[in-house]
Amino acid sequence: MYFNTKDGDVKAVDGVGFEIAEREILGIVGESGCGKSSLASTILKLLPHNAKLVEGKILLEGKDLVPLSDAEMRSKIRWTKISLVPQGAMNALNPVFRVGDQISEAITLHTDTSRSAAKVRTGQLLKLVGVDPSRASHYPHEFSGGMKQRAMIAMSLALNPRLLIADEPTTALDVIVQAGIIRLLMSIRDEFGTAIILISHDLALVAQMSDKTAIMYAGEFVEYGSSSDVYGTPLHPYTIGLVGAFADIRKPKEPLTSIPGSPPNLITPPEGCRFNPRCPYAADLCRSKEPPIEEASPGHLVACHFWKDIKAEKKSQEERETDRQEERGTGDARRGVGQ
C-alpha cells in the first residue's frame, strides 16, 4: 500500500504477508512511522483518498477483501467480521454523546436490532469488559482513561467480530491499568475465540500477549514467527537491536544499547536491505540486493542476508551467557538469604 504525495509515493506498507488463525494473537511491533497502523487501515480498507493498494490480497475466511466496494465493506465486513480498537481510543469516543448510546449506535446501524434490544446488549458488553453497566448513561469525560479504553473494546465486540485489530490499545495508560486491559483482551480471546492483531511499539507488551510476532521496519516485515522463536532466537539485526534497547525490569542493571541512526524516509527507502544504513552487519551485498524472506526454522521467517552467521554467532554467545547466568543465579540465591 502506497501513499501518493507531492514528493513521490510513500511506500508505507511494502510486501507484507502474514496469516492469523482463530484464537490467535499476532503482535506487530515496530517504531513510529514503520507502517504498522497503515497496515491496520489497509486490512479494513479505511484508507485516505491518496492511498492506493498497489497489489496483494487480504483474505478473510478465504475471501479476498480487496475487490469489495466501500458499501460491501461497511455492511459485511467492518464491525461484523473485523473490528478495530483505534489508536488513542481515549479520544475516539464522541464527548457529546453518552457512552452507552455510542455503543448501541454501532449495533443498531449494522444489524436490525431494536433500540431496546441494543441497549440490553450494551449493558452485557459493558459488564463483560468490567465496566458497571449503570455507567452506560454517563458521558466520556466521566470515565477514566482505562474505562474509556474498556468501553471502546466493548464497542468493538458488539457484533461478535472474528478478528479484532487493536492498534496501540494501551498507550497513554498507566501500567496497572494497562495490565488490566491486557488481561481483558486475553480473556476475550479465550472466551470467544476471537483472533487479535495487536499493534504496538512496546516489545514487552507484545511478548506477553501474542502467539506470533512480526517485527516491522520501514514498511516491511523483517522477522516473523512464533513469539518464542522471535524473542528467544532473534535473527534479524533490527530485532536484536530492539531487544537490546529494551529495558527489562527483571534483569540486573545493565547498559542499554541503541540502534544508531533513525528510521529511513519511506519515499526513497535505502537501496537493498532497508535496514542497511543502521545495521552493524551491513556488507556490500546488503546495499545492493534486497534480502529474500527465508525460513530459518519452521514458521520462523527472516529477511536478512546474514541470518545464518548471526545464528551461529548467537549460539556461541549463548553458551557463554549460560555460564554467566549460573554464576548470577548463585549470587541471587545468596542475596535472597540475606533478606
Partner: protein
Amino acid sequence: MSELDKATREATSKVETWLLFAWMLAALAMLATAATLIYFEFGLALIALGSAKISLGTVGALFFVPTVVDGLLLRRAGRMRAAALREDTVGLRRLDSTWWSLATIAVSVAVPIVVFVPGSPEYVKLDFVGRVFTALPALGAIPGIMLILLRGPIGELKPPQLPPSDAILEVVHLKKYFGVRRSLSEAFRRSAGGMVHAVDDVSFKIGKAEIFGLAGESGSGKTTVLRTALMLTEPTSGAVIFKGQDITRMDRSEFKKQRTKIQVVFQDPYESVNPRMPVFDIVAEGLMVNNLVSSRAEAMEKVTKALREVQITPPEDYLLRYPHELSGGQRQRVAIARALVLDPELILADEPVSMLDVSIRAEIINILLGIREKRGISVLMVTHDLALSKDMVDRIAIMYVGQIVESGPPEEVVASPYHPYTHALTAAVPVPDPQAPKIKVLAKGEIPTNISPPSGCRFHPRCPFVQPICAEKEPALQEVSPGRQVACHFWKEAHEAFLKGLDEPVGSGAAS
C-alpha cells in the same frame, strides 16, 4: 503529624482569624466608598466641575481612586485568608507586602485630609454631613493598618532550620495544593474549599553526581515536584534547598542568578524546542538571555562544545538547521545541549525518553549517564517506566497520590518491593519474553482523586493487605533497612507475601 505541622497549623489559624476581620473591614470600606461615590460624590463632582474650581483629574483622583484601592485591598485580604486557610505559608509570605499596605493607607487618608482641612476648596463647598460622607473612604486605612500589624506573625511562619548538608537539592516537607475555585458560601464558612493535593509532604535529597528517580503513575505528583524545584510552580509549604539556599524564599533577581545552575529537559522534544529557531539559537538562547557570553564567537564555541557532548557531530553542520530537519532523538539531544551549555549542577529531566522510539531511547539515556560521569551533574529524573529507571537511576522514589511510598536503590526496590503498591506496579510491567510469567493486576479499583484522598494510608482502598488501622493512621516513611524507606504499616507482611509469590527467582534472565 509532626510537631512542626501542628505549630504551623496553629499559627496560620490565628493569622487567618485576624485576616478575616481585615477582610470584613475592607469589604465595609469598599461598600461605603462605593455608596458615597454613587449617591453623593457624582453630584459633588458636577458642582466642582461647574464652578471650574477643580479639574476632572482631581475629581478622579479624589473619588475614584479610593474605591479602586479599597477593592484591591478586599481582594488581597481575601487571597491571604485563603492562603492561611490552606496553610500556604509560602503564598502568605508572597502576598504580604508593607509597601502595598502603606499605599492603601495613604490613599484612604488623602481624601479626608483634603476635605477636612479648612481653606481647601472642598472644605468651603461642603457642609458637615457632606464632609463625613466624603471621608468614608478613610475606613480603608483600618484593614491596611491591620495587614501591617499582621506582618509580625506571618514573618514568624518560618521554615525549620535545617542542618547543613552536602546535598545539591534537598526537598523538605514539600506540599503543593492547587485550590479548586472556592464558592462564596465556602468563604463564609471559613473552609478552604476543595483542594487538589498534588504533592503532600514529600522530602528527599539528591547528592552530587547522583541520579535520583521519581516514579509513579500519572497524577501522582511527580512532575509537580519537578516544577517546584524550578519554581515554575510555587510550593504551598515546605522548602526546596538548592546548594544550601532555600529557593522558595529567594528574591526573584537572586533566584534568576541561581537558575542557570538548574536546567530542565522536557518530555516532548517536538514541543519543547522552538520550530522557528535554528539549532544555534535554541542552544545559545540561555547564554544570551543571561549575559553569559560577551561575543558571538564565544557563544559559538560553547554551543559547539555542548552539541559535541550530546553527540551531534559534526556540530557545525547542524547549527543552522531547524528542528523539523532533525529526528526526534536529535531534537531531544539538542534540548539536552541547551541545558548543558549553561554549565548546570542539576538537570531536571521530565520523562526524557517516553516520547521517543525504543531504538533511540538508549542513546539519550547513555548521553545523560555520560554527562553525569564527565561533569558530575546531578539529575532528578521523573519517569513512569520502572524498567528503564532501574537501568538509569542511583536511587528511586515511588510516588502514589502525592506521597512517596517507597524509596531505595532501584534494583532492590524493583526486584524485591516492600510496599504493596510498588509490588502491584512491578507485577504489571510486561517483560520482553514470551515465556515469562504473565503480568498481574494486584491493585483493585483505580487511582483515587487528589481532591479528597483516602484517609490514613492513601493506598488502603486498593491494597490486598489492608487492615483497619490503614484507614485511620497515615504510615510514616521510615528507614527499614539500609538505604531503603517505606511508608506502610504492614510492609513486612507484604514483603513476605511478595517473596512467596515469586514464580521464579528474580534475576534469571530472559535469554533462554
